[in-house]
Amino acid sequence: MSVVLVPLLPLAAALLSLLPLGRRFAPSVTVAAAAAALALGAGDALRVAVARRLIVIAGWVELDGSGALLLLLVTFVSATAALFSWGYVARHEADARRVRLYCAHFNLFTFALALVPVLAEPALVWIAVELTAVFSVLLVAFDNTRGALEAAWKYIALMFMGAAIALLGFFVLFWAQQMAGGGHYSWDGLRAVAPRLPPVLVMAAFLLILVGFGTKVGFVPMHTWLPDAHSQAPSPVCALLSGVKTTSALYCILRLVPLLPPASVGAWMRGVGLISAGVAAFLLLQVRDYKRLFAFSTVEHMGIIFVAAGLGGPRGMAGAMLQMVSHSVTKSFCFLAAGAALLVLGTREIASVRGLLRTSPATGAALLLGALAIGGAPPFAVFLSEFSIFRAGLEQGRYLVTALLAIAITVAFFGILLHVNRMVFGVPLETPSPARAALPATCLLTLVLAALPILVLGVYQPAWLDALSNLAAATLAPLAPASLP
């Protein structure tokens, strides 16, 4: 039952936050709902780690390993973003009506995000993924500036274009299942008939969904919306977009992997992933806007996850899952830090920022921590997961892929640190007023809370998380030939 509550809580909060009950009401409802959803989501994840799956309505609402992992990430990032939004919106928006509007949209967005992992029917998952785009577009456009509206337009146009293409993919998938003998149209129903699915149809469905949802993930060359939307959207929204929205679209693509013969699809995945990682790594060298910097880093990380999944094998998929976790927690932290910097500085230009550590030590430290962590420096979470991906690549003898991936990661690391160093160290160009330089308490608290998993996961992996990611990897791996019916 708690599985259903996780998406329903934000939905209820969305309705409640529209009530005009004072400036503090809507944000507090949002935070409360997100915190409750996190508690429930974590509980569900723990239960899945033990029970392997939770079934609410068989074939429609189910939670298995990969779903639970995604649900955990969604609820965690939603909770931190909600908490950060409290201070961010209070500082940013004077109009109480707009605060309510923001909270309502925010809750709808998290509702849609939480819907993706708990649904088991592919067509409904398509709707949930589409809803994440529909509900977030007005958040991207929230500032109503020329840039924000342009970004929102590009965002929704590409999202919907991708959705329309993916929709055909899901229809073809259903057709393939009917030809393989039918059964209930759900992820598990598909897995059950996987060996009998006509390969041409599954491949066609995979390619359609790869192009369609790949647009939502932000694979090069369909990534153009991503830096635009991330530079313009409010920072807590960026944390959700980058941390979990892209990931949930990726999760849908990975769901198809067990249906395909690994040999046919691995090359596609490695190719697409490498192109994204490589191109994004070089693109982030030339950014002028620090939020775009992290956005390109997201494109790069999506590529890395896809390469890892394309390497296949239990270790490759487990590496992909680990990378998904570490990317979600780290990237959302990065955007929260960037949001804090934006609150303090009032500009997104890298060139006009110097010596952030002196103007606002907390913000500077957070930005530096985020940059180091997302770049893959030890001892943070991303380092561990990238390391395990390299190990999987080398074990399988994919030296070229591993080497290219290593180059991309190295370039991205230097690119990120190059820009962040310039911002964090040195002598400040101008000193903002003390009132501005002080972060809201909730933002500070969020940064501390969000930093915890990055630090912890870099040195210690809890047994239940390990079990959960292995379980997730198992649900996304092709069925072993022995276990075929």
């Binding site: 342009e150 919907f160 006509p198 693109l283």
Partner: protein
């Protein structure tokens, strides 16, 4: 099972619906008037519903009849109403629209895309599964590609968005052919999802009109990595 003659008629009428669907999609690429584009989109949706009714009779499934009705309600009635309502000025008064490509070139590209779609669909159609798939799948795929082209060559918000909606229509057109037994709740919620989308895009376009004074989205190119001049 309907008798052979009725089957032949249904298939033939469905093929005709498909041909007209393709023709209307070509029209969406090439029409200059925004209002005309909206009418073409409505026509396309009506054709989609017609195909759903015909296939529903052909496959003996009431699913598709419901899908057709929902399609009529959402895309033929509500969507144009919402767009007209939210974007009165935009839909009514803008006549000429400048395109990225000139119209004959765009039409020839659309033609090439349609042929490509037929070629791409042929291995899938060869799997068998009835004459309706041979009509709906390639034409739906062609509509998907041409809708994408429309979105690429249009610079005005409303026709661009109509191109995207045409893509969704085309996906559905292929979908009712290949997956007539798709769970109804999924198909109906997809339709309502599109409705929310129409509403949101309408609001967004209106916000653009209010805050930056234009809906020519092709002219919005501020966000790049290049140094501002």
């Amino acid at each position: 099972m309907p008798d052979a003659n009725a089957v032949q008629w249904l298939q033939s009428l469905n093929a005709l619906t498909g041909g007209l669907f393709l023709l209307v999609t070509f029209g969406l690429v090439s029409l200059r008037q925004i209002h005309g584009c909206l009418r073409l989109f409505v026509a396309q949706s009506i054709l989609l519903a017609t195909s759903a009714f015909l296939l529903g009779a052909l496959y003996h499934t009431w699913h598709l009849t419901v899908v057709g009705v929902v399609d009529l309600v959402t895309k033929v009635v509500i969507t144009p109403w919402v767009l007209r309502r939210l974007l009165h000025d935009e839909v009514q008064t803008r006549r000429e629209i400048t395109q990225v490509l000139n119209i004959p070139t765009a039409l020839l590209l659309a033609l090439a895309l349609a042929i490509t779609a037929y070629l791409l669909a042929s291995p899938l159609v060869a799997l068998g599964g009835g004459a309706a798939i041979g009509v709906n799948l390639p034409i739906g795929l062609a509509g998907l590609l041409i809708g994408g082209l429309t979105a690429a060559v249009r610079r005005e918000a409303v026709p661009l968005f109509l191109g995207l909606l045409a893509m969704e229509n085309s996906s559905f057109f292929a979908g009712i052919g290949v997956a007539p037994e798709m769970p109804l709740i999924a198909e109906v919620s997809i339709a309502f999802d599109v409705l929310i989308l129409v509403f949101v895009v309408g609001l967004l376009t209106r916000a653009m009109h209010e805050h930056i004074g234009t809906t020519e989205v092709g002219a919005l190119t501020a966000l790049t990595e290049e140094q501002a001049p």
